[in-house]
Symmetry: C2
Subunit: 157 residues, 2 copies
Amino acid sequence: MTDDLKFLNLAAELSRRGMENLTGGPFGAVIVKEAKVIGEGWNEVTSDFDPTAHGEVNAIRHACKALKTYSLQGATIYSSCEPCPMCLGAIYWARLDRLVFANTRHDAAAIGFDDDWIYLEVPKPLADRILPTFHMPNEAAKAVFTEWMSLPKKTPY
Amino acid sequence: MTDDLKFLNLAAELSRRGMENLTGGPFGAVIVKEAKVIGEGWNEVTSDFDPTAHGEVNAIRHACKALKTYSLQGATIYSSCEPCPMCLGAIYWARLDRLVFANTRHDAAAIGFDDDWIYLEVPKPLADRILPTFHMPNEAAKAVFTEWMSLPKKTPY
């Protein structure tokens, strides 16, 4: 069995764990670096009262906390399902090297978890989005950005 | 002062708090329902070892935990800066009604927080993304989806 198959099976096992414990939707993810599991996650949206607690986001949070880092460079994320745009964004921010997934967004839609519409929303101009969105330039917010530039002690990421 | 200006000023104040306490980038967000603040957040990526701990995601988590819900329907999110795709996805999953933001993604890029490239990645076909991505259909993952459909006790969201 290849490592990819082994770790994808583990992601599937975690998706089953979430489903059986009724923590949320049937989604699991695992993060692997140098052939070692460094983070596991499954969907906990409903049990944890957290709409961001998807399998991939949870796996990223757990791996980063465990390693005291906010970069997972050099690691692969295995997900039982194609990540939604939120999770894909999280994967980019976590600097993961590689993504392997099993079920597709269309498989997810077929069991009641449609996120294709969010994929369609993200690239739209603000005015065309379903979400009513207002850009209101604000002096206080702008001033913080200006100060950030000259802040002596800061951690870029 | 309008409510929008008042709450956007608060989001800016939270972005300053994060910056001054060196918890992460200079970003803050607040969630408001029926003219009451129900959640606050600021960027804690570096202090919390969590690449998903953006201001908006944190505000959503806090509001949902406080109200023991995973839906913020009827609420508005105010952010000191235009949300990145991860946060925009979180806003859709949280079912927020409205988004008001101050600084733009281009203002953010100018102080070292470029997320426009992630906006460009999300709508791309898998094979065209910077992130090496592999779709590997998996029997165990598929079986969990099939079982989900006939699961008697489940919480749709």
